[in-house]
Amino acid sequence: MTVSQHQHKVSSDCAALKLRAVGLTYRSAQKETRALDGFSLEVACGEPIAIIGPSGCGKTSLLNLIAGLRAPTTGEVIVRGQTVTKPRQQTSLILQDYGLLPWKTVLDNAALGLVVQKVSRSAARAQAQEALRTVGIEDFAAAYPGELSGGMRQRLALARAMALQTDLMLMDEPLSALDALTREELQNVLLDLWQNAAYAQVLVTHSVEEAVLLGKRIVLMTPRPGKVRAIIDNPAMGSRAYRQSATFHQQCTLLRQLLLESASDTDAPDDKAEESVQK
């Protein structure tokens, strides 16, 4: 791995996240589905990781496991040295629909994590207001999420995480519902936030450019049951200007190629049979 100027952010002797041979099997009455199988990965403190892979490769399940919303069938999930058994205060999960509550104002949405953790109402609001300022929507504190644009809702979801002083940011295709321009704008916001707050990040995305822009390492997953197929080092990431560089485009091409290869590998006719084991 080449040493980049942002290397100092990533501390190798501090692990934000360790996944040890994590497996997850869903059981229903008719069949069992193996979502993940022997997934291992280590993310250093402050390191931004992007995960990319075919649809239904268990990326969402993976985030749910890390967030402590689900227990793995096999293996172990360790965040900051502690085995995850339930949701953890400083782990933030942002889902595709942002998980905002339409009946709470922007400010109360941003403060929700703190309120749930029994922080006093005034302190929670002050912290939330600060977080809104960080993401640039402090003028909309009294509005309801329904009155916000898609990009602003995304910012609000980020503010809710920032208010909790997150050290592990989990994101499930957070920008996929946005138009191209807003998406680029929000990618820059994510980049800035990560640089200022220095949280470790696991970003699940379908977009090759997004993965290369926002991942210091890019994890390519296999189809279900998901495991690590390849890890691409992307040390030059870390600034907005990277988008225009030749390295950026080379990395995108490389990643696209790997994705295509893995797709052609799995076009086998017995694809479905592999995914689910009939009982």
Partner: protein
């Protein structure tokens, strides 16, 4: 302010329309059983002092009963809707009990609870209970799982989820159920009051009918309609306070 004026104007237009149709029908039929609205309104003016205590009793009964029924129905519905295993048992039970017209229990209630306010209150509360229960349960079941997951990831307990997600999400549905059941509540009130006891607006109307005093009877009916409007407005008022985000 403008919205309020529009609302008042709406009520005025609706009232005039109803009175006009009523007058036309009355003239067409030409039977004392359907007096002119002017006659009924005049009678209302004269009889209001007699009527007021009956109206007050009825309003108290229906308000108390609707509050109890809604509160119990919503809480039970939300718990059943959010607890899969409980729902397995409760749902079939609910579908067996829900279609039974609760009014058939009037004789039983009269025997058990006497002739006072209790039978009317219990009966109305039961009707409202089932209607809000079914609505609250369905609304709680259809809650977006992603929304619940997001809030759980913040470290929310079951109680937090109920308070911040389930209750506010289902509140609009519960108010709709409440509005729909207001009509049923007044109908049930009328029936119980007319069958037994000597208080309440239902008794007042049926008593006038027994004396073949049609103008008084219709005066009572107008008073009952006004009580219905008052109930709707109380519900709207509470909803506006509790569901601000829907405006």
């Amino acid at each position: 302010m403008k919205a309020r004026l529009q609302k008042i104007l709406g009520y005025v237009i609706a009232t005039v329309a109803v009175l006009l149709v009523w007058a036309a029908l009355s003239l067409l039929i030409g039977n004392p059983a359907l007096p002119l609205p002017t006659v009924a309104l005049l009678q209302l003016y004269h009889k209001l002092p007699d009527m007021l205590p009956h109206l007050a009793v009825s309003l108290w009964r229906v308000l108390l009963a609707m509050s109890i029924g809604t509160l119990c129905g919503s809480i039970a519905g939300l718990i059943i809707g959010r607890t899969g295993r409980l729902d397995l048992i409760a749902a079939p039970l609910l579908y067996v009990l829900y279609p039974i017209p609760k009014i058939v229990f009037v004789p039983v209630l009269l025997v058990l609870l006497g002739l006072g306010s209790a039978p009317a209150i219990v009966l109305i509360a039961t009707v409202i209970f089932f209607q809000t229960l079914v609505t609250a349960r369905d609304a709680a079941k259809s809650l977006s799982p992603d929304l619940v997951l997001s809030v759980r990831s913040l470290g929310a307990s079951r109680i937090d989820i109920a308070r911040h997600v389930v209750v506010p999400a289902t509140l609009p549905n519960i108010f709709t159920a409440l509005r729909i059941s207001t009509g049923t509540a007044i109908a049930v009130l009328f029936i119980t009051e007319s069958i037994a006891g000597n208080t309440g607006i239902g008794f007042y109307v049926v008593n006038a009918w027994g004396r073949i005093d049609y103008p008084t009877m219709f005066a009572g009916i107008i008073a009952m309609a006004m009580m219905g409007v008052a109930l709707y407005e109380v519900i709207n008022f509470v909803e506006r306070r509790l569901v601000r985000w829907k405006d």
